[in-house]
């Protein structure tokens, strides 16, 4: 299989549970890299801490496994110092939007050419199933035995409002969309956010009676629809998938290169 060349097989087996959605993301992310024929020596993966963040150890790129929530902060330094590199940042929902929320909105605002992937399983997987800012209300987690009363973020609205110039969403069920959106995101000259609804059968599924991984994936098939579809008009509860924004705006590293020119001329 073509994507084998992007894996560090020496470090397998991976740590993920059977049925975890993170593996699906890894597989289809590598397909995107493969289809774009990006030179592995120019690919950098920067991740934080969480089950999702462990993805960086398994890929044969330059890989930087950092601190919980700080992937984008480290990535900003990598990209700014070496703008020719392609930098991709897979993050968990808690990682990206609880502890890393501030870095996330500022990265959107800056519009540096980074690709942020939020692997949203609506739970803290690594630490054993506590609720996250993406869980939403009525969810059972180890820190919400009486079910959550915390409202959730909408990653798409947050990214759009914060200034990200490429924003897309899909699910682990729609694996071809994962590849397509990540491809678009990697090619997009600015800050890209791809939200991928992923499943954690071990903690989210089990506690919330959502069945095994297959059932959880089926649910994503049923409760999502393409942006602006007829189904959405009939049933506003459906979660939309697709590209919400794709527009160019001044990219940070390019703007900084201009700034250097001005400083050196004056």
């Amino acid at each position: 299989m073509a994507i084998d060349q992007y894996l560090r097989k020496r470090f397998f087996p991976h740590i993920w549970c059977a049925g975890c959605g993170h593996g699906i993301v890894l597989n289809n992310m590598l397909r995107a890299v493969d289809q774009l024929q990006i030179n592995q020596n120019e690919m950098v993966m920067v991740s934080g801490i969480g089950c999702s963040s462990r993805i960086s150890g398994y890929v044969d790129f330059h890989s930087l496994h950092t601190l919980h929530g700080r992937a984008l902060a480290f990535a900003t330094g990598v990209k700014m110092s070496q703008p020719n590199l392609t930098v991709i940042c897979p993050m968990g929902d808690g990682d990206a939007l609880a502890i890393g929320g501030n870095h996330f909105i500022h990265a959107c605002r800056r519009n540096m050419d980074l690709t942020a992937i939020v692997m949203n399983n609506r739970i803290y997987g690594m630490t054993g199933g506590q609720f996250s800012p993406l869980s939403g209300t009525g969810i059972t987690a180890t820190t919400s035995p009486q079910k959550t009363i915390d409202r959730e973020f909408d990653i798409i609205s947050l990214s759009l409002a914060s200034g990200a110039t490429f924003v897309a969403r899909t699910t682990a069920y729609h694996y071809k969309e994962i590849t397509n959106y990540i491809k678009e995101a990697l090619q997009h000259p600015g800050f890209s956010v791809v939200e991928i609804l992923s499943q954690c059968p071990t903690h989210f599924g089990r506690r919330n009676k959502q069945g095994d991984a297959t059932e959880m994936l089926q649910r994503y098939r049923q409760n999502t629809t393409s942006i602006g579809s007829e189904a959405k008009q009939k049933n506003p509860e459906l979660i939309e998938r697709g590209i919400f924004r794709q527009e160019t705006a001044p990219e940070y590293c390019a703007e900084y290169a201009e700034l250097i020119n001005r400083a050196q001329q004056s």
Binding site: H62, S63, L67, F74, G77, M80, S81, N84, H103, R262
Partner: protein, 382 residues
């Protein structure tokens, strides 16, 4: 050729020295009394084609420079008090991943927001132990601009030599004070460049396999070797592990590479120590006061001497022990409730000779303050 002398602030001196050392990447977040470092970096770096980032906080400032160091750049951030607290997690990451970087902490009064515009030396132990877990750290300081320039260059040199974060512990007083700085000529202070691996492309490179001398040649991220970097305990490929043997080896390596080279890292100045009955030990801004006391008392024939420590961590215990051997009294002059004084007590024989001369109300410690305490120590009352 006459050398250029400028009348500038300590914070600006630090910037000039960092550029001299080859810095080309800086990220920071404004905070008094270190903001001038960030401002001068913003002015200078674009002119030399370097990178300047004003980040959203101190956490991301340190994280981003660590990322930039990995790609092969000399990097720095600067902060004070609360900002230094926010940096502790990423400081530990740089320790664990052995990524060279320099963090300037221009100390102000703490705890908390404390005294933003006043001097203090309350972060000495934070520099040592601020980040969690066993680790070694290098921390340098200086009391005047000429030394501050040299110590800043040394901070970059040591960061590269030992693959470690170095904390440059300045204070509001030296940071904001203006005094003449004679700019060193190119080559006058040695500048150490990064040790890069000679392993060719295509050959398995082990980023965390120390050479016989304990050093680990680096390979620029984005270059010809692809490897993993993690803050978890890791093996020679940089891959996470829980193997007790590997963990044992890594923690010992992280400690030994610095603690076993303490003598190489030690930096100090001494004044009139040869026949001193009373030895003052001081550092940073307080050393200016201590030096004043020592020189004026010497004029009156009193046998006072000063040991000014410039490398606070690893603490130069052997040096202190040797220099204090014949002292009747040892007076540690510092602007905190007593930090270095504990290290001195641990270092010397007969620690009952050691006294603290401090001031913690935000005002710069004066020669009178030191003299009053000295009178008490000598049993003469104030």
């Amino acid at each position: 050729m006459r050398q250029r002398t400028e009348f500038i602030q300590g914070n600006e001196t630090c910037v000039r020295a960092a550029l001299y050392a080859g810095l080309d990447f800086f990220a920071g977040y404004p905070i008094t009394p270190s903001s001038e470092i960030t401002e001068h970096m913003a002015a200078h770096l674009p002119r030399i084609g370097g990178s300047f980032l004003q980040m959203e906080d101190e956490i991301s400032s340190l994280c981003s420079i660590i990322g930039a160091s990995l790609t092969g750049h000399k990097v720095m951030t600067a902060t004070s008090g609360p900002g230094f607290s926010l940096m502790q997690e990423a400081l530990g990451f740089a320790v664990m991943t052995e990524i060279p970087c320099v963090i300037a902490d221009v100390q102000r009064g703490g705890p908390s927001t404390g005294l933003p515009t006043h001097g203090s030396q309350g972060d000495v132990y934070q520099a040592r132990w601020g980040t969690q877990g066993d680790h070694a750290i290098i921390s340098l300081t200086a009391s005047n601009h000429q030394d501050l320039f040299a110590m800043t260059v040394e901070a970059f040199n040591m960061a590269e030599t030992f693959r470690t974060p170095v904390v440059l512990l300045l204070d509001e007083i030296t940071g904001h004070m203006r005094e003449p700085l004679t700019l060193p000529r190119e080559g006058e202070i040695p500048v150490i460049e990064r040790l890069r691996t000679s392993v060719p492309e295509g050959v398995d490179y082990h980023p965390y396999l120390p050479r016989e001398d304990g050093r680990l040649p680096m390979s620029d991220f984005g270059g010809k070797h692809r490897y993993n970097v993690t803050g978890l305990y890791h093996d020679m490929w940089g891959f996470p592990t829980t193997d007790p043997k590997v963990i044992h080896g890594l923690i010992h390596h992280l400690m030994d590479k610095i603690e076993n080279h303490a003598h190489e890292i030690t930096r100090y100045r001494e004044y009139y120590l040869d026949d001193a009955h009373t030895v003052l030990i001081s550092y940073g801004c307080s050393a200016r006061t201590a030096l004043h006391v020592v020189t004026s008392r010497r004029r009156r024939g009193e046998k006072l001497g000063l040991l000014e420590i410039q490398s606070l961590w690893p603490f130069p215990a052997e040096l202190v022990r040797a220099k204090c051997e014949h002292a009747h009294y040892i007076l540690v002059v510092e602007m905190n409730m007593g930090q270095v004084v504990h290290e001195v007590k641990k270092a010397v024989q007969d620690p009952e000779r050691v006294y603290l001369a401090n001031r913690v109300d935000g005002e710069f410690i004066t020669p009178t303050d030191v003299r009053n305490i000295m009178r008490l120590v000598h049993g003469r009352g104030v």
